[in-house]
């Protein structure tokens, strides 16, 4: 999956938008993980993760956090969103200290992620570099719509829904915060950044 890699928008808009992921490796370190995952979620929450989830259950924008925690199991994949470099640093420091043995990935602007790694004392091992969009780009929705829809990397969010909600926000019929959360509920992974979406819908 590369669903957290390809988020689009102006460089300024992409600042402060980080996705965290914790992964087990099939057949190697994928057993007896439930308590570990619950602990990782607690660390992420403490660090300030504004959204998180497990794709099989949903994100905290759609499901009560306690229910997601209860339903975590060895095959679960947990992911979430940070909105500041300091949150990333705090998360990585705690994960390094706990040494759970799970792979940890931070997706974001490299000019922000790499210094955060250095500050937290972790050493980047592998990077998946984003090389952008190729092909029939003229078929894509407008850039400001794509900036919102691409925050659900599996593209469960329709451009038309974003347009409709943005019109309602502009007409004062719904708050930008409520509209952003409504969109975020469609992303089952929990990697949708509703705070960035709120700013984009207000713009």
């Amino acid at each position: 999956m590369t669903h957290s890699l390809h988020r689009f928008g102006e460089r300024d808009s992409l600042r402060g938008d980080f996705v965290w992921l914790s992964y087990q490796t099939k057949g190697i370190n994928d057993r007896d993980l439930t308590p570990i995952m619950q602990e990782i979620v607690a660390i992420a929450e403490k660090a300030g993760s504004v959204n998180w989830g497990d794709i099989k259950t949903g994100s905290i924008l759609a499901v009560q956090p306690e229910e997601i925690k209860t339903r975590l199991k060895d095959s679960s994949r947990i992911r979430g969103v940070f909105t500041s470099r300091q949150q990333v640093v705090n998360f990585l420091e705690a994960m390094k200290e706990k040494d759970f043995g799970q792979s940890v990935v931070i997706s974001g602007l490299l000019e922000e992620v790499l210094p955060a790694c250095q500050e937290a004392g972790v050493i980047p091992h592998t990077v998946n570099f984003a090389l952008g969009i190729w092909g029939r780009k003229e078929l894509l929705p407008e850039e400001d719509i794509l900036a919102v829809t691409s925050m659900c990397g599996h593209h469960m969010i329709s451009p038309n829904l974003v347009r409709t909600l943005r019109e309602r926000v502009r007409a004062g019929r719904i708050s930008a915060d409520k509209a952003a959360r409504a969109l975020g509920r469609l992303c089952p992974c929990g990697i949708f950044n509703q705070e960035r979406a709120r700013r984009l819908l207000e713009g």
Partner: protein, 298 residues
């Protein structure tokens, strides 16, 4: 597969906004009516516009019931009849089940049946990230790529992982376009990943050439990833092939390049990209090396 039950549909149009690929429309007539046989005329209405003639068409032995209604005066004006019904175009729908899972329809009109064959099952599993691909054991589009490389050792120093997200962002793609791209990069030296790593391999008739099974070429999915790896030396040829084939497809793709990196995040790959005139990548997904046991270095 997903369909809309016109018995329950109230033509409110809410579902239209939720479909990522605009596969749902409100139709007074049209494609559905063309393929279904008429069996009844006029039925008791519920909601919609009064004073319109209503004709229901059923799918005969298929058991599905669909639409259609034409405008015109109705003899019995006490009946309030629906003038339109929502319809999912099967040629556009990729079975992502956003409409179903999100309970978009307040009237429960969106229904699912079991996929009719392997290809439609693949279409659903690959388009709905909640599903898990059996071979890889990974939910979503089903690949771990760089995320567990600190443990799996899938990508070694001197190698480049290539992840081509066909149809992404948000346009979807036909597998015939996937085949064009896969064959182009395979011919340029990319070694395509097998079914243990990536779901697409199951539809490859020939993993060495990237040829897709003929019966699946018209299948449409929300996105699917062509994955492979090559030496750093072969990367320029692979990128050149992508530059050529991007003009020959009817959709888009996003490209991710996976590389082992130094402690500061630099990699020989970045110098190669610079030489080829690519701007330095702004975003990346950084595996921070906390996985245990660590993959053996070679």
């Amino acid at each position: 597969m997903v369909r809309i039950n016109p018995e329950k549909c109230r033509a409110c149009g809410v579902c239209l906004d939720y479909c990522p690929l605009e596969a749902i429309s409100l139709v007074p007539s049209g494609p559905a009516a063309d393929v279904f046989s008429e069996t009844t005329v006029v039925r008791e209405p519920s909601g919609g516009s009064p004073g319109k003639e209503f004709r229901e068409v059923t799918a005969g032995e298929q058991g599905g019931v669909v639409l259609f209604l034409t405008a015109g005066p109705l003899p019995d004006t006490s009946r309030q009849l629906r003038s339109r019904v929502a319809y999912i175009d099967p040629s556009l729908c990729v079975q992502c089940w956003v409409c179903l899972r999100q309970r978009v329809c307040s009237f429960g009109a969106i229904e699912a049946t079991f996929p009719e064959d392997f290809y439609h099952l693949f279409q659903h599993v690959i388009s709905d990230p909640v599903e898990t691909t059996a071979e890889t054991g990974v939910p979503g589009r089903g690949t771990e790529e760089a995320k567990t490389n600190d443990v799996s050792g899938r990508y070694r120093r001197g190698e480049v992982g290539v992840a081509i997200d066909m149809g992404r962002p948000g346009l979807g793609c036909r597998l015939r376009d996937v085949e064009k791209v896969a064959m182009a990069v395979a011919a340029a030296g990319l070694v395509l990943e097998g079914p243990e790593h990536t779901p697409l391999a199951k539809l490859m008739a020939d993993l060495k050439t990237g040829r897709i099974q003929e019966a699946s070429r018209d299948l449409r999915v929300l996105s699917v990833i062509i994955e492979g790896k090559c030496s750093e030396g072969k990367l320029p040829a692979v990128l050149t092939a992508l530059r050529r084939v991007e003009t020959e497809i009817e959709t888009v793709f996003t490209l991710g390049l996976v590389s082992r990196v130094e402690a500061d995040g630099t990699a020989p790959l970045l110098a190669i990209l610079e030489r080829l005139g690519f701007p330095r990548p702004l975003r990346g997904k950084v595996n921070v090396g906390l996985g245990r046991p660590p993959a053996a270095e070679t």
